[in-house]
Every structure is written in C-alpha cells, then in structure tokens.
C-alpha cells in the first residue's frame, strides 16, 4: 500500500474511534492496569472505565426544530415569491448608475468619517483640557450638533444661501469684503453633505473618544509623566493606544451608522446609492428589487467593516489579553492541521495514548 492508501484506510475508521476504543474491553483492561490502587482494592469501582451517558436536552431540540422551520420557510419565500424580482436585482446590481452611487456613498463615508474623527479627537481633548473656555466651547459644540436633527442640519447647510447670501473675507464685524463669493457656489450639494455629516459625526465621536480616554488608568499618565515623556507623545503613544480598546467598538458602530446614514443625503438630490435606487424605481416601478440592490450593497459594505473591526480590535488588544484570540484563518488552519494529523495517526498509537 502507498502512503496515501494507508491514510485512506485510517480515514475509514469512524471519527469517534477513540471514544469507542475506550469502551472496548481490552482498552478498559489497559486503564485498569494503569491504576493499580483501583485494582488492588477489591470491590472498588474504577469510574474511569464506565461509559458516560449524556443528558438529553429535549426542550433545546424542540426549540431548535421550530427555529429551523421558520428560517427554512423564509428562505423558501425568497426563492418562490416573484415579488423579490431577483432577475431585476441582478440586472441593476452592477449597473453604471448604481456603481457611481456606491462610489459617492463610499466617498461621503470616508470623508465625513475621517473629518468627523479628527475634529472629534480635537473636541475630546478640548473637553478634557483645563481651560474653561475651550472646555465650554467643546461642550456647546457637542450639545448643539447633537440637538439638531441631522436631516435639518443638511437642509440648512444646503440652503445656507438664504441666511448668508454671500460669504467673504474682510474687516471683522463689517460688510467690507476684500473677497466675496456667492454662498450657493461655495456650498454645493456635496459640500453641504460633507459639512452636515462630518460636524454631526464630530460631536458623537468626541464623546466616544473622551470616554475612551477616561477609561485609561490614571497611573498610566503618572508613570508617563514621571518618565518625562512629552505631553503630545504621552497622548499619542500611551493614552490613545490604550483608549482605543474601548473606542474601537463604538467607533465602528458610528462608521457603520454613518455609511447607512449617508442615505439621508438623498433629500438634497445628491446621487448616492440610495438616491440612485430611488430614481431608477421611480422610472421603472420596480420598487422592491431596486431597494434590495441598495440593501445588499449596504450589507456587503457593513460585512467588510465588521471584518475590519475584528482585526483592528485584535491589534489593540495586545497586552490586555495574555494570548491573542486566533484569527478565523488561524483557526481554520489549526483545524485543518488537526484533521490532517488524525489521518496520519495509526489506530494502535491512539490506544497507547
């Protein structure tokens, strides 16, 4: 027999071979021999040699069956209900208009997310600063942008021209401008969207970042100060990396919220994913399939972000856990290695072990 055939022969053994062997009389005898104290005492029972009967969880089984039934029913309707319009979904899923809308959604998320977190970090540091002026400015900013609904903020930015028809640089508190331009040309729909989303985002991320900073043990700041590490480095090297552990899950919540929140921009007719879907279904009346296109894209992007979150969290948990949790890839590789080794094992060895 070749080695491969050998492996196949070993693989033909049932998977729970080890368990069965334990119940075979010769294996039991072997165990008995390994425990002389049990063998010496007459009448003593060697519990190790007895088979184990597991508890049957009837309620768990019944509930499991109900869940499987409900899910199966739902999946069945997905395929049989023509209303979903899967062919239409497929036709539009990669259409130019949808992909351009997707691009706009991604751009808004990245730009507003980045601006939001940069401004948010500054606001968080201002909130923690000893200056009462900076502190109250940051507090008021956060208060204001959390108070006004995002939809209203975006409409106001878009219609800023009604409030300030022109914007210019000039002598403070007068209307003598050196440079002056029409607000409408300066604040485009895109600019209004970015302003609204990022300022709103800044207010929320500021509180998340502040919370993270507060969660770091005060001894850490003291130790860094005692070592004479300069202040900016104390924040970037010592405090923020530790704060990141509690910031990251919330931050990803915010970014995922922002990703889907960009759909609110459709009110100012900026061609992002949701707006494009609406335009198409208003033309061809395929409401559900087009909404499905948008939803599937949001789901794909959220999945990507969730995977990214796992790795970022894992990175920042260095030092807080003794051993890092394995990545799914490492776990899969370890599982494959175990299975492979099992193929190699000869049954005799297992008994000896």
């Amino acid at each position: 027999m070749t080695q491969v055939e050998n492996r196949r022969a070993a693989a033909a053994e049932p998977v729970d071979g080890a368990l069965r062997q334990a119940q075979r009389p010769e294996a039991a005898a072997l165990r008995q021999a390994q425990r002389p104290e049990a063998a010496q005492r007459p009448g003593a029972v060697d519990f190790g040699a007895l088979p184990v009967v597991r508890t049957k969880h009837w309620i768990r089984w019944i509930l499991g069956a109900v869940v499987i039934f409900v899910v199966a029913q739902l999946v069945w309707t997905l395929f049989t209900n023509a209303g979903y319009g899967w062919p239409t979904v497929a036709r539009y899923f990669f259409s130019d208009a949808i992909l351009r809308g997707l691009g706009m959604t991604l751009t808004l998320t990245v730009v507003a997310g980045a601006l939001g977190f940069v401004v948010g970090s500054l606001l968080a540091l201002m909130r923690l600063s000893k200056s009462p002026l900076l502190n109250s400015f940051a507090w008021s900013f956060i208060w204001f942008f959390r108070s006004v609904p995002l939809l209203v903020q975006i409409l106001v930015w878009f219609n800023l021209g009604y409030l300030y028809p022109t914007i210019g640089l000039g002598v403070p508190f007068t209307t003598d401008y050196f440079v002056e331009t029409q607000t409408v040309t300066l604040v485009s729909a895109f600019a209004a969207a970015v302003l609204g989303l990022s300022l709103n985002q800044a207010a929320y991320s500021a509180e998340i970042i502040r919370g993270g900073i507060l969660s770091v043990d005060a001894g850490q700041l003291e130790a860094a100060a005692a070592l004479g590490i300069p202040q900016h480095r104390r924040i970037t090297r010592i405090i923020l990396p530790q704060a990141a552990r509690s910031i990251i899950p919330n931050a990803f919540n915010e970014i995922i919220g922002l990703l889907k929140g960009t759909s609110i921009i459709s009110v100012i007719a900026l061609a992002e994913l949701f707006y494009v879907s609406q335009v198409i279904y208003n033309r061809n009346q395929q409401v559900i399939p087009l909404l499905l296109v948008a939803v599937l894209w949001y789901m794909i992007l959220t999945t990507v972000l969730s995977i990214a979150q796992f790795y970022v969290e894992r990175y920042y948990s260095r030092g807080s856990a003794r051993v890092l949790p394995p990545t799914p890839i490492q776990r899969a590789r370890a599982w494959a290695a175990v299975q492979w080794n099992r193929l190699d094992d000869e049954p005799k060895k297992e008994v000896a072990a």
Partner: protein, 260 residues
C-alpha cells in the same frame, strides 16, 4: 551604566514643605537633605505623608509652600530676580528626567512589551535613536535578570517581573535620584525577594535612592539613613542602627513594635 557609577550628583534639598488636601495637612514643614549616592528609607504609618513627600520630589505633587531642589535646581519653579516663576510643562519634564520613579502598582504600559516600555522614554525625549535605546534596554533587562522576557507584555509577567521591568524603565534615563514608592507592597511574599535583590544592587552605585517601604529588615540592611515620619512631620532620623535599633521617639517605638 558607567555614567551613573561615576556621578557625584543627586543632591536633594527639601525645605519647609507643606501640603494640604481639602484642609487636611499631609506634610507640615518637612525639611530634609539627601546626599549624593545616599540610600534613604522613609518609614511611617499609612497616611503619615511619606508617599506624598516622595511624590513632591519629582513634582507629581505640587507643594503649598516650601521648595524642593535637586542639585540646586528648583523643582517646578524657576528662581529669577527674587521671584519664583512656575515652569512650563516641558521644562518640568526636563528636570523630572533626572528623577526616576518606581510605583507600587508598577504602572507599566500594558500595550507595550517589556522592551518597548523601557525604550519609550529615551526615544520619546530624543536622547537616543531606536537602535541605541534598544541596546540600552536589553542591557538593563539583563541587569534585572529578565533578558529573556524582552518581548513579553506586562500581563504575561509575574508581579515581581513586572516590578523589575519598571525599575529597568526608570533606569533608562540614567536618573540622579531614584524614588521607590512601596515597590514590594503589591507583591506576593515569595516575589518580594527578587525585587529587593535588584534594589540592593543599585545601592552604592552612586544614584541617590529614596525608598518608601514596610520591609524593615530590608531597610536595616540597605539604607544609609532611616527617616521616620508621622502626621506630616519628620520625628526621627539617623543610621538604621540608631532609628531601628534604639528608637528615641515613642511614636517610632510604637510603630516598630506593630511592624516587627
């Protein structure tokens, strides 16, 4: 560490220092002079102000009145034209690097490895480049007997090992004065010895050591001078034989009777 063995600096002058928290006086007019290279142990019941006194030496606590100077330089203030100017953060930092500190709870940075913990300050202060700092750190780790733990995170080390890394970290800036704030109080009894061994090795190398501790036996063995503090006042000081062997003040006798 040739520089620290040859140094004759590390003279600490503490004059009439008072400090109150919420109206409670923790230090009431403490004056002390520590000679360069001296090993001084501060004893006292809890709440006596010994930790606060230690923390005023590197300006982690500001004083209400009085002053602290290291080698003639005031801590936290600049003396110019008959006035004391409060120093900017970065000037305080420069002076603070002359004073190393080892904390009761180690306060290692948990997200950095043992090596990175030591490298952080010399690199952050632009004293050394990363490669040199690494070499220095490996040398220090070897000195505290942890050369093989360079890449371990603090959480992966025992308390005694963590405290030894913390001592190596404090040594990385080659301080003139090293402060120990109850360095063994958070340790299991069987781990105390390894930390005391490291401190014992530092004594007599020229660095001024100020140790707040409850290990009376260790204080007797290692110190040049023992200081007893209660209620923010220095009640007694002198060689370990005098203060620990033949205490004059009744409070000292009472304290030693409860601790020994």
């Amino acid at each position: 560490m040739t520089t620290s063995t040859l140094t004759t600096q590390g003279h600490v002058e503490i004059r009439d220092v008072t400090k109150s928290y919420n109206g409670v006086e923790v230090l009431s007019g403490v004056s002390l002079t520590l000679e360069p290279g001296e090993v001084v142990t501060i004893l006292g019941p809890s709440g006596s102000g010994k930790s606060t006194l230690l923390r005023t030496i590197n300006h982690l606590e500001t004083v209400d009145s009085g002053w602290v100077a290291i080698d003639g330089e005031l801590i936290g203030y600049e003396h110019r034209g008959g006035k004391l100017y409060e120093l900017k953060e970065r000037h305080v930092l420069r002076r603070r690097t002359q004073v190393g500190m080892v904390f009761q709870n180690f306060n290692l940075f948990p997200h950095l490895t043992a090596l990175e913990n030591i490298v952080e300050a010399p690199v952050g202060l632009k004293r050394l480049n990363r490669a040199d700092a690494r070499e220095l750190a490996l040398g220090l780790l070897e000195k505290v007997g942890l050369a093989d733990k360079a890449d371990a995170y603090p959480r992966q080390l025992s308390g005694g090992q963590q405290q030894r890394v913390a001592i190596a970290r404090a040594l990385a800036l080659q301080p003139k004065v090293l402060l120990f704030d109850e360095p063994t109080s958070a340790l299991d009894p069987e781990l105390v010895g390894e930390v005391l061994d490291v401190i014992r090795e530092l004594a007599g190398l020229g660095t001024t050591l100020v140790i707040v501790t409850h290990e009376i036996g260790f204080a007797r063995e290692v110190s040049d001078r023992v200081i007893f503090i209660d209620h923010g006042v220095v009640l007694e000081q002198g060689g370990p034989g005098e203060v620990l062997g033949d205490p004059q003040h009744p409070r000292t006798r009472e304290f030693l009777a409860t601790v020994l």
